[in-house]
């Protein structure tokens, strides 16, 4: 089972019937010239990358831009179109007074599998009190949270909110809450590794490709910034493959992750085993 845990479906054709919405998505996400993709194309891409499942992540930036970029209902629609291929996460705006209620609805009625938040864009620190109602819902329903971490090249993002060290209290105070630091917290990948060492409930995904090509960047991060042995020996149960498609290159990243020298058993965990535990609990 090969799972991409970090995919943004904002430009999938079935949820882009409205040209104004599509234009808003290009501007808000700072992704341009990519058009919209019919699902058959997405499935072709998955086949080329040898991927079995994609975890679809929405964005609810209502406070910042006036509306959700991709709604939870749209995620549910996509999952319903291909339930054997798609895993759907919910979005939430922590500043919305009804956020916890809406998240509960997303878990119980829309059957979504976790929560995605973006501290840099939504302008909150991971330990802010404003997040507590959402965390309480996730803990009650045993659902994980994927947090954007590290740099973001979306507009209006403050990196200070998403530095890995900011997640320490959250991880310590909620040992039963599984959290993923997306993009491995780049450029602070050693901070991310430190948190994963301290807290088994902290995961990271590999959705990082900020310079060079997929292999070159992975080789830089996973051979030099942190040695491959740190993951292969110590953090092997906490790293999940993610591509951050469509910003980054899913097919080449899925290939590059297999060429870094991990043991086969570690690679299987990164490709899917850890994602299943992150989603369902150990």
């Amino acid at each position: 089972m090969f799972i991409d845990m970090h995919v943004h479906p904002a430009f999938y054709e079935p949820i882009n019937e409205n040209a104004e919405i599509e234009e808003m998505r290009h501007n808000v996400l700072n992704i341009h010239k990519n058009g919209t993709a019919p699902l058959v194309h997405i499935f072709n891409q998955m086949k080329c990358a040898s991927l079995d499942r994609l975890c679809l992540l929405p964005e609810d930036y209502t406070t910042q831009v006036g509306q959700a970029v991709v709604t939870n209902e749209e995620i549910q629609r996509l999952v319903d179109l291909a339930p054997d291929k798609f895993i759907g996460f919910a979005g939430a705006d922590p500043y919305d007074e009804r956020a916890a209620e809406k998240l509960e609805y997303a878990f119980t009625q829309l059957k979504l599998s976790g929560l995605k938040l973006h501290p840099s864009r939504q302008h909150f620190y991971p330990n802010d009190a404003i997040l507590r109602p959402l965390i309480e819902v996730c803990e009650r329903y045993n659902k994980p949270i994927i947090f954007h971490s590290g740099v973001s090249i979306e507009p209006d993002t403050d990196t200070k909110y998403a530095r890995p060290i900011e997640f320490e209290e959250l991880a310590a105070n909620h040992p039963n809450l599984r959290i993923c630091l997306a993009h491995f917290g780049w450029p602070w990948v050693q901070e991310t590794a430190m948190l994963m060492l301290k807290f088994p409930n902290v995961y990271a995904d590999t959705g990082l490709l900020y310079f060079d090509n997929a292999y070159e960047f992975y080789e830089r991060v996973f051979h030099h910034d942190i040695p491959v042995t740190w993951i292969d020996r110590s953090l092997r149960h906490q790293v999940m493959f993610g591509s951050n498609n469509p910003r980054f290159e899913q097919i080449r990243m899925a290939d590059a992750i297999t060429k870094l020298g991990f043991r086969d058993s570690t690679l299987e965990l990164i490709k899917g085993g850890n994602a299943l535990e992150f989603l369902n609990g150990r």
Binding site: L29, N30, P38, V40, C48, E216, R247
Partner: protein, 142 residues
């Protein structure tokens, strides 16, 4: 008279050769132009148009030939985030292979027939798939 048509393709492979001879012949026939030229031009920079014999062995040889000239692992400059796309450019090999094949081909139309050799077929060449692609077919004549 000038007639402009499009062929829409949804490619399925990273590198792929797609025969489009039949579609081009049909468009020429539908145009009712009996003497002139047909121009077949891809809309993209990581795809090509080429004319060759439609044989499995030749497709394999051409693909391997291009891959030897343009290996995936070399340190290309076109490997970075492009700010006007907001996404990573990781397809230098697609651009370079497209540079080698060229983006078009032309055939003469005479007395209602597209003049081509028996062994000649028109290929759309995908070098950065899978993707949604468009080929322009312009038929010019009388």
């Amino acid at each position: 008279m000038v007639i402009l048509k499009q062929i829409k393709l949804l490619t399925t492979g990273y590198n792929q050769f797609v025969l489009i001879t039949k579609q081009v012949l049909e468009l020429v026939q539908e145009s009712n132009i009996t003497n002139g030229m047909v121009h077949v031009i891809t809309k993209h920079t990581t795809t090509g148009i080429t004319v060759n014999e439609s044989l499995e062995c030749l497709e394999s040889d051409i693909e391997e030939f291009l891959s030897r000239l343009v290996p995936e692992h070399l340190p290309y400059s076109h490997a970075r985030i492009l700010s006007d796309y907001g996404s990573t450019a990781g397809n230098p090999t697609g651009h370079l292979k497209a540079h080698l094949t060229g983006n078009h081909c032309h055939f003469i139309i005479s007395d209602g027939e597209l003049l081509k050799g028996d062994a000649q077929d028109i290929y759309f060449c995908e070098f950065d798939g899978p993707a949604q692609r468009t080929v322009f077919v312009q038929i010019v004549g009388e």
